[in-house]
């Protein structure tokens, strides 16, 4: 298939439809409106259904109903709207239903702003709503990867019966890049014999539920969820890394910030610095083991984020105190520049080479 030039938010919609998503429930919020707009335009052409809900809360509960009914279903929002969806996301995780949720992050807290940010890292990777649960969290760095991860996201959601979050930011949603959609021939959508479709008088009722009033039963349910999250940790880690062996310093960043970091690294390499990169593609499961590949001679790991230091916690966990963990972040919709990152690296490593 030939490459086409597409805006990130629209590429998500196109990828979702190619992956068999036929239902989308959403509510307007900047900066992700192109996605529900795209779905409202395109889903009717493929026999699908778009509903604009009365709120993000209603939208995620429509997703819960549709996912429990066996459909491939998606919703999207941006940070304040994602905060509203947490109730429904917790129910979906507790009831073990598959769906894809897109968060195009903007600055906060509160109403914050509409410019790009990465302030929902904690919310996305620590569950977000009530209870012990995890989402699979995928963090694309460019529009091509965004489209690929949306498609993979539907397959992962079905495989693990778990919600998948695509964690992007206003930048990747708005930017236009060439994208080629993967051929999905041979991929089949699993049969969902647990879904509510009406018994037709032929089986016992299927029940979609997250209520377990008996404490022992609820503990067993939680243990089953945790076993699933451990399987995900074992099998689904995705990470891009480079030059870890003899790095003076390693920079860790994800999403669009990682692209800025790559520009900074190439500038630094021209000046003779040896800088490694760890770019987590899955934020849950987190690629902790990748950090073990960093040599003890490395002077530390610099985490760069568009927040005040959230993934930084995971980097520290991964380093186990082996070397210093440095941080550089911008917030509120301010985007770090390669020059700022270069300056920070030089501060850490001690001036010009």
């Amino acid at each position: 298939m030939a490459k086409v030039l597409m805006k990130g938010n629209e590429a998500i919609g196109a990828a979702a439809i190619k992956a068999g998503c036929r239902y989308f429930f959403g509510y307007p919020i900047t900066p992700q409106n192109e996605l529900p707009e795209y779905m409202s335009r395109e889903l009717p052409n493929v026999g699908g259904m778009f509903v604009q809900a009365e709120s993000e809360i209603a939208a995620i509960n429509m997703v819960y109903g549709a996912a429990g009914s066996g459909a491939r279903v998606m919703t999207s929002s941006s940070s304040p709207g994602i905060a509203l969806k947490q109730e429904g996301i917790s129910y979906i995780a507790g009831s073990e239903l598959p769906c894809v949720i897109v968060d195009m992050m903007r600055g906060g807290p509160g109403l914050g702003g509409i410019q790009p940010s990465q302030t929902d890292y904690f919310l996305a990777t620590r569950g977000g709503g009530n209870g012990d649960y995890r989402l699979l969290v995928l963090a694309p760095s460019n529009v091509q990867e965004l489209a690929d991860l949306v498609m993979d996201g539907f397959d992962l959601a079905d495989e693990y019966r778990n919600p998948v979050m695509i964690l992007g930011d206003g930048m990747i949603g708005q930017m236009m890049e060439p994208v080629e959609f993967k051929n999905r021939e041979g991929k089949t959508i699993q049969k969902k014999d647990w879904a509510t479709t009406g018994t037709k008088g032929k089986r016992k009722p299927n029940i979609i539920n997250s209520l377990y009033l008996d404490a022992e039963e609820l503990e067993r349910h939680n243990e089953k969820l945790q076993e699933k999250y451990n399987r995900i940790r074992e099998k689904e880690v995705r990470v891009e890394s480079s030059n870890l062996e003899d790095a003076d310093l390693v920079i860790s960043a994800y999403g669009t910030t990682a692209r800025i970091v790559k520009t900074a690294i190439s500038k630094l390499e021209k000046e003779g610095y040896k800088i490694g990169l760890i770019r987590p593609i899955t934020l849950f499961p987190y690629p902790y083991d990748e950090f073990d590949k960093i040599e003890d001679t490395c002077k530390g790991v610099l985490t760069v984020e568009m927040n005040s230091g959230q993934m930084l916690d995971d980097v520290k966990l991964a380093l186990k105190g082996r070397m210093p963990a440095y941080f550089y972040g911008r917030t509120g919709g301010m985007i770090p520049t390669p020059e700022e990152i270069v300056k920070k690296v030089k501060e850490i490593l001690g001036g010009d080479k």
């Binding site: 259904m49 809360i57 939208a59």
Partner: protein, 248 residues
């Protein structure tokens, strides 16, 4: 000997958890019988609320979802949009529908979702232990209205059936009570008519059922039925507010 009455197959054999004298059991039976008599039980997908009837997903003998508090009409929307040919209903109490879930029910009705909502109004939060509901009557005592509901503090009780009837997408709205055998028969007729409106693809339907809570009202089951008649029916008048026009 001929069988003249038996338990409907629309309900499972699981014993319910309802308090003695609570009328949820009667309403469950009416809903289940209506589904069986209309031939939709095997295609039915129900949505249970949060509140006293939170465990309704165990009692109805059909596919069920358990929804978050107040969100049943949104969940039912998701189900119905995926399975437009299935029969989809929500079963909700007054805390669930008339308080935390007003947005969901109003907009499901507004969109004309082809679903049916059974709204059980017992003028109190039962499951959590007798707190004031939006439907609690003026002067009625509740654990969060220990001096009785006062209008200047809490406003007047909300009349859901009248409000939903103003919405174009709602095609069937009726208020019934289950305090006497005659009223129970009327309630069943209304529930069946409401379900028919969905089956015939006409739009959203709601039946508000006035119900008792002897435990939290502090009455015997019999006195609770009398209290309902004397206090609830005058404020919440019974009757049909809206029905689809008969085809000439």
């Amino acid at each position: 000997m001929d069988v003249i009455f038996e338990k409907t197959i629309g309900l499972t054999d699981i014993p319910t958890h309802y308090c003695p004298g609570c009328t949820h059991g009667v309403i469950h039976r009416l809903v289940a019988e209506a589904m069986v008599e209309l031939g939709v039980l095997d295609d039915a997908i129900g949505v249970a609320p949060v509140g006293c009837s939170v465990l309704a997903y165990k009692y109805f003998n059909c596919d069920m979802h358990e929804a978050a508090h107040g969100r049943a009409p949104a969940v039912a929307t998701g189900i119905k949009r995926v399975h437009p040919d299935n029969f989809v209903f929500t079963y909700q109490g007054d805390g669930d529908l008339a308080s935390i879930g007003t947005a969901e029910v109003v907009h499901a009705a507004h969109r004309g979702e082809k679903i049916s909502t059974i709204f059980v109004n017992n003028a109190i939060y039962g499951m959590t232990g007798g707190q004031m509901a939006p439907t609690t009557l003026i002067g009625q005592k509740a654990t969060t209205a220990p001096y009785g509901r006062m209008e200047e503090l809490a406003g007047k009780p909300i009349r859901i059936a009248e409000m939903i009837a103003t919405i174009d997408g709602a095609v069937f709205v009726e208020r019934v009570a289950v305090n006497t055998p005659a009223n129970i028969r009327k309630a069943k007729r209304a529930i069946k008519e409401c379900f028919k409106a969905q089956i015939e693809g006409k739009g959203f339907g709601l039946v508000e059922v006035l119900s008792t809570c002897p435990t939290n009202w502090g009455y015997t089951p019999e006195d609770a039925l009398k209290w309902l008649e004397k206090n609830m029916i005058p404020y919440y008048p019974l009757g049909n507010f809206k029905k689809p026009k008969e085809v000439e």
